[in-house]
């Protein structure tokens, strides 16, 4: 990791810790100046980006993040049975504008089902979901068309909102760049790597500018850099006032989210 990479990682860490944008810029610039004048390995001079960012936060505090806005998603008493097996029992979740909620739990505890119910793709046996504004949904896999180019996906999604081709393509490429992906190539979706295809999947779900964004393990096949970009993007969307629900099994991300719904503890045994 060279100095520039270190600085980028550090900036991302500050951003994720909700350090005010201006303050973060100053701190990063100061570190850059120091490295330029004194040289040295940033890992020795400042330490790992996360721990230096933590030290900075301790010194200057964080912005009292944008206050959560009105409720955007309200799921209450969601119960779902498949045959005799109860996958979800009385699960509830409230997410406001400007919040990220994580849905966690062991494999097979109904995380994806819960999300699909919130998206209105599956009916629950009991319970209701209220959504205000537009809904975006990114499935775990298979939300793309194998024989279409990325640009054509953007056009297809854009047309749903009445967006013309040119603007839809530009919006899609811009959203893809946020994930560190250059979507201009002439590669069919079926020939994209798993991680890149997932980026296409994600880009499609954010393209319609949803007020509520539901993501089902959106980072499958991502490398470390893409993973950092993803969280940057999610935090940017949150700060724009979107309500985001992420299904995840990576517990180390939980300090970055505002609400956690743990479906494991909610249903001991998981059987009726």
């Amino acid at each position: 990791m060279n100095a520039d990479e270190w600085l980028r990682a550090f900036a991302a860490e500050l951003h994720q810790r909700r350090v005010a944008v201006d303050a973060a810029r100053h701190v990063v610039a100061e570190a850059a100046t120091h490295l330029r004048e004194g040289g040295g390995d940033p890992w020795l001079v400042f330490g790992p980006p996360p721990s230096y960012a933590a030290a900075i936060v301790e010194s200057i505090g964080t912005t009292p993040g944008p206050r959560p806005g009105p409720v955007r998603l309200h799921a209450r008493g969601i119960t779902k049975r498949y045959g005799r097996r109860t996958v979800l029992r009385d699960a509830s979740l409230t997410v406001r504008a400007g919040q990220i909620a994580a849905v966690v739990g062991a494999n097979g505890c109904g995380k994806s089902t819960f999300l699909r119910i919130c998206a209105g793709l599956v009916s629950p046996d009991a319970g209701e979901v209220s959504v205000s504004g537009r809904l975006g949904y990114c499935p775990q896999q298979g939300g793309t068309a194998d024989f279409l180019l990325p640009d054509e996906h953007f056009v297809l999604v854009g047309a749903g909102q009445g967006v013309a081709r040119g603007p839809a393509r530009r919006a899609g490429r811009a959203a893809a760049r946020h994930l560190g992906w250059d979507a201009e190539g002439d590669v069919l979706a079926r020939h994209l790597s798993g991680g890149t295809r997932q980026k296409l999947n994600l880009t499609m779900s954010t393209l319609a500018e949803p007020d509520v964004l539901l993501l089902d393990e959106p980072y499958q096949g991502f490398d470390q850099g893409s993973y950092v970009n993803l969280w940057d993007q999610l935090i940017r969307l949150r700060d724009e006032g979107r309500a985001i629900v992420v299904v995840t099994h990576l517990l180390n991300q939980l300090d970055r989210v505002d609400v956690v719904l743990d479906l494991t503890t909610a249903q001991p045994g998981g059987r009726s």
């Binding site: 009105p70 319970g127 209701e128 209220s130 975006g136 054509e152 297809l156 319609a208």
Partner: protein, 230 residues
Amino acid sequence: MNRLVTVAEMTLRELARRRGVLLLLLLMPLVFWLIRRDSHVGQSIRALLLGISWAVSTAALFATSAAREIEPRLRLAGYRPHHLYLGRMLGLWVLGLAVSVPFFLLTVFDTTNLRYAGIAVAMLCCVAVAAPFGMLIGALLPRELEGTLLLLTVVAMQMLLDPASSGAKLTPFWSSREIGTWAVDHTDDGYLTRGLLHGLVVTVLLTVTVAGVFAVRLRRRRHLHHVPLT
């Protein structure tokens, strides 16, 4: 309208890139036709029509299965169910017409003394019926293999049933056979009228059924309430 056309266009683009499928699509009617060419001319034309029906409905089946995962999210992105199924059907009809043209020319150059308009209308019927038929099977059967087997059964049945029997009228592609007979054997106009009527009714029935299936599958679920933005 724009949404409809966009779905149609993407359907065509997808199919156009499945070169293998496209090739088989053209090969199937050709083979059917070649095998029967030495026997009665009516046999070869009938086989050709059946081949087109089979090819277009298979394409429709594949297109529908491939779109199964992406459709719910397009629905969320602002498409209504009718944009999705009508757009797809439109794309398939265009594809079917494109596939039919070379075969129509083939009959024109290869055979004399036919009612060529009748051949064209029969092909039109094949394409009109095949698109919603393949889509319906694709919508009802989740896996392509099962759908293909069902299609095969229908086409075989079509081939083996005596067209005069009452059961034959229940098969989807009876119209093209009837009109084909009119075109080849110069039978009375009753054949043409019956065929056209059959083709029209079957197309409408199938389209309405496809609409029903899509409306149910992509319906707004009752548990989900949309509240205006505050």
